[in-house]
């Protein structure tokens, strides 16, 4: 029997039972749609986070006290601004070094109050991390060395405290201490439900006085090029370890952060796809079931086909193709449904989704495989039917 003819017979059989074919396909459609949509959401989230981490700028090295391994106790930082000299010397360019001390503080302007993440930093921060201003200017080296109480507001903080008014030159209090606004950041938006526009940058010296401490939480260094990251990392960690022999220091690069995040999200996406895959499997069982019913219903037809010369294989192939046609048609419809759902989610909700070709190809391949796997038993049963018994069946 020619393959084209076998396809035609399979298609006719499915058309003859339109409603039943549709209902059987539904299991596969839902399974494939779930795989495609969930993988799209996982991939979209991963891409969004990667974009944000890359948005920090390349060749970034972050140095913090303590170990970055899971389960290690948080270390209280022994770092102070006095450590900056050795770091600057190791890096060779102080404009490439940034420090932070962070604290959540209540902010107030007039009658409006809010909550912000206060970041005590150096004037180098906008160049080390790529941060652009919407209005005003960042504070200067002099502001830092004199501990001037000036602040650069995140877009969200500016909106909450000043509304439509221009905040530049106005006063606010941070933790009850009065500061003057000199700049406002460009809006960044949300990432994983965290508002990134809720920061207030102030000179590190002013922040330390406000918090009553000398400490800094960590350092960030922008290497001039990728090849120097390794050397810089070693040099900086060694310099700091010499000054603080009792403390471990960890240096992480942007690539490492991306790698770890990528791994976590990859696993998450895989788990989602596997859960969706189970529903595809359930769809396959439905196909198997309906094919067995179909073989029983068409016993006489099978007997007749054998009487006129069909080989066991011809009959088996016919039923196998029927199962594969059922699941691949369901697979294509499921791909369309899943991609459509992903696009809607991406457009209408804050959850990002990116439909990928590999997930579509995989879903289609798996649905074809499901047809073969779950069609084999009914097909074999049909192929082996004794024609005499089949013809006698009423």
């Amino acid at each position: 029997m020619r393959l084209a003819e076998a396809w035609r017979v399979a298609l006719d059989a499915l058309r003859a039972n339109r409603l039943r074919s549709m209902l059987t396909m539904l299991g596969v459609i839902i399974g494939v749609a779930a795989v495609v949509a969930l993988v799209a959401i996982g991939t979209g989230t991963k891409q969004q986070i990667e974009n944000q981490v890359e948005g920090l700028g390349s060749n970034l090295l972050i140095v913090v006290p303590g170990r970055l391994e899971a389960g290690s106790a948080p270390t209280s930082s022994p770092l102070t601004l006095d450590d900056l000299d050795v770091v600057n010397r190791a890096v060779g360019d102080r404009s490439r070094v940034a420090v932070t001390i962070a604290s959540g503080e209540t902010v107030r302007a007039g009658t409006r109050t809010g909550y912000a993440s206060m970041q005590g930093v150096l004037e180098t921060t906008p160049t080390v991390f790529v941060r652009r201003l919407d209005r005003g200017a960042y504070f200067t080296r002099t502001d830092v060395s004199t501990g001037r109480r000036v602040a650069v507001l995140g877009a969200g903080v500016a909106r909450d405290l000043f509304g439509d008014r221009d905040p530049i030159g106005r006063q606010l209090t941070i933790g009850g201490v009065r500061f003057r606004v000199v700049g406002v950041f460009q809006q960044l938006g949300q990432s994983l439900g965290v508002d990134r526009d809720g920061e207030v940058h102030v000179p590190v010296t002013a922040a330390q006085r406000l918090l009553g401490t000398e400490r800094i939480d960590g350092l960030a260094i922008r290497a001039p090029d990728r090849d120097r990251i390794g050397d810089l990392s070693t040099a900086v960690v060694a310099a700091l370890a010499e000054r603080h022999p009792d403390t471990d220091f960890s240096a992480v690069t942007q690539e490492q952060i991306l790698g770890v995040l990528g791994d976590i999200l990859g696993v998450l996406t895989g788990v989602l796809a596997a859960i969706a895959g189970i529903s595809l499997l359930v769809g396959g069982v439905g196909v198997s079931n309906i094919m067995l019913v179909s073989v029983r219903e068409r016993t006489r037809e099978i007997g007749l086909r054998k009487a006129v010369g069909a080989r066991p294989r011809d009959i088996g192939v016919q039923f196998l193709l029927e199962a594969v046609l059922l699941t691949t048609t369901g697979g294509i419809l499921g791909m369309a449904l899943g991609a459509g759902t992903a696009l809607l989610v991406d457009r209408l909700s804050p959850v990002p989704a990116a439909v990928t070709w590999w997930s579509m190809a995989l879903a289609f391949g798996v649905s074809a495989a499901v047809g073969i796997v779950f069609g084999v038993v009914p097909a074999q049963r049909a192929g082996r039917l004794d024609p005499v018994v089949a013809l006698r069946t009423e």
């Binding site: 029997m1 020619r2 003819e5 009487a307 006129v308 010369g309 066991p312 011809d314 005499v388």
Partner: protein, 224 residues
């Protein structure tokens, strides 16, 4: 060479440990151009014999040659090919595929020899013409009378040019006038050298054959 040669053929069914001897040593030769009627009471083994003669089943004892080939030595695929090339079956209940046109029903055996759609349709149309249904090629079984359906079935049996046509009670579901015209059609094949073997309950039908065999309890008890 005889078209079919059965020597001391038996067929025993095993059912839940009980064996049913449907055929107990049947010897029979079918020559090209033979016109043979098999009669006998219900359960005497007529259908069982027909299935063996047509290569749908294998004997459990004796030897059976179809087209000179010993069916005991044939694989299932070779048996299928044998049925496709040398045998034509006609059944009491027609066994046409529903929702399929007369033309495609007749062309069905050609599917299993790899013929293309055009060739199948041409040959099926010619064969339907031959059985007097040239004007009904696009009709489906439920749009045709019993006599017409049986003619379609005969056209299907003939489309491969078989040397033996086996008909198990071909007139059993038809009124006598329609049955008679179906028989005339079969008899015209005999004149062309096709061997026709038919099973019947009807003495008048049997009387038209050149040779009659009466069966009882799985044996041939009378030959005329």
């Amino acid at each position: 060479m005889s078209a079919i040669e059965a020597t001391d053929v038996s067929r025993t069914y095993e059912l839940d440990g009980v064996s049913v001897q449907a055929l107990r040593g049947v010897s029979l030769t079918v020559e090209p151009g033979d016109y043979l009627a098999i009669i006998g009471t219900s359960g005497s083994g007529k259908s069982t014999l027909m299935h063996l003669l047509g290569g749908l089943d294998r004997p459990t004892g004796g030897t059976l040659l179809i087209g000179g080939r010993d069916v005991a030595r044939l694989t299932p695929n070779e048996m299928a090919e044998l049925r496709n090339t040398t045998i034509g079956f006609v059944f009491q209940s027609f066994h046409l595929l529903a929702r399929t046109t007369a033309q495609d029903n007749v062309g069905l055996p050609l599917v299993y020899r790899g013929a293309g759609r055009r060739e199948r349709r041409d040959r099926a149309a010619a064969m339907l013409d031959r059985v007097g249904l040239g004007h009904r090629i696009t009709h489906r079984p439920n749009q045709m009378s019993g006599g017409e359906q049986q003619r379609v079935a005969i056209a299907r049996a003939l489309v491969t040019g078989p040397s033996v046509l086996l008909a198990d009670e071909p007139t059993g579901n038809l009124d006598s006038a329609t049955g008679s015209s179906v028989l005339s059609l079969l008899e015209s094949l005999v004149d062309e050298g096709v061997a026709v073997v038919l099973v019947t309950h009807d003495r008048d039908v049997a009387a038209r054959a050149h040779r009659q065999i009466r069966m009882k309890d799985g044996r041939i008890v009378e030959t005329r």
